[in-house]
Symmetry: C2
Amino acid sequence: MNPKETVDLQRASQLLKLLGDKTRLTMMKLLSSHECCVCEFVGIFKMSQPAISQHLRKLRDIELVREERRGQWIFYSINSEHEDYLLIKSILDQLPGQDESINDLEKQGLRISCG
Amino acid sequence: MNPKETVDLQRASQLLKLLGDKTRLTMMKLLSSHECCVCEFVGIFKMSQPAISQHLRKLRDIELVREERRGQWIFYSINSEHEDYLLIKSILDQLPGQDESINDLEKQGLRISCG
DNA sequence: ATAGTATATAATGATATGCTTATATGACCA
DNA sequence: TGGTCATATAAGCATATCATTATATACTAT
């Protein structure tokens, strides 16, 4: 799939609507620097596991992210082949890094629990 | 207000949520190339005047657009001084031009009605 | 003043969203 | 096989969103 120069307004608005949620936007920013598994997200966000799972499903539905099972864990990653990846990336690039969340996780020993 | 390098996630998600509506996103794209008055939007979108007005209010509330009364008309324009203008512009730049809508309007003689 | 045009606001209703709890699925291990 | 961990799905509920119709406000022109 080749990235196009412009993104159809219908698709763009749908995309932006999905990114227009703080939890999902943060997820995407996190995923832009490394893969995460679901339990890491659960550690980061003060939210139930099903809530996390439902956000990930929405991101998966329009193929913003990919999932890959490794043993009992499922890792999510950015889909850089997405047709609108240029738009997505240009947005994420303008958001502050979320390394702090990851560091906090490690302090709590939660990062390792999945790795 | 100086543009910052990155946009706080809370504000960014709020912004993206507002742009995550096809009508508002199209409005913003239109405004990025020229001012419009409300009746022009009413001509372009198949929607009631109050619906248009309410979308514009949301855009105004977070200062994405400015309004300026000229006689009995109120013209809206992009607020290029917005703190997050770089993010906004980078998004709008990746959307297809909407000159067609404007041309259609002119064909119907509706453009002039406000000008 | 009055009527007409442009726009905003209020009230309302249908649908969408985002969470919760409960339950199902699937992988691993004793 | 049974138990446990990681994740997904289902059902339910509170709130948000987006449209509509009705009404208010503001300017213009006669």
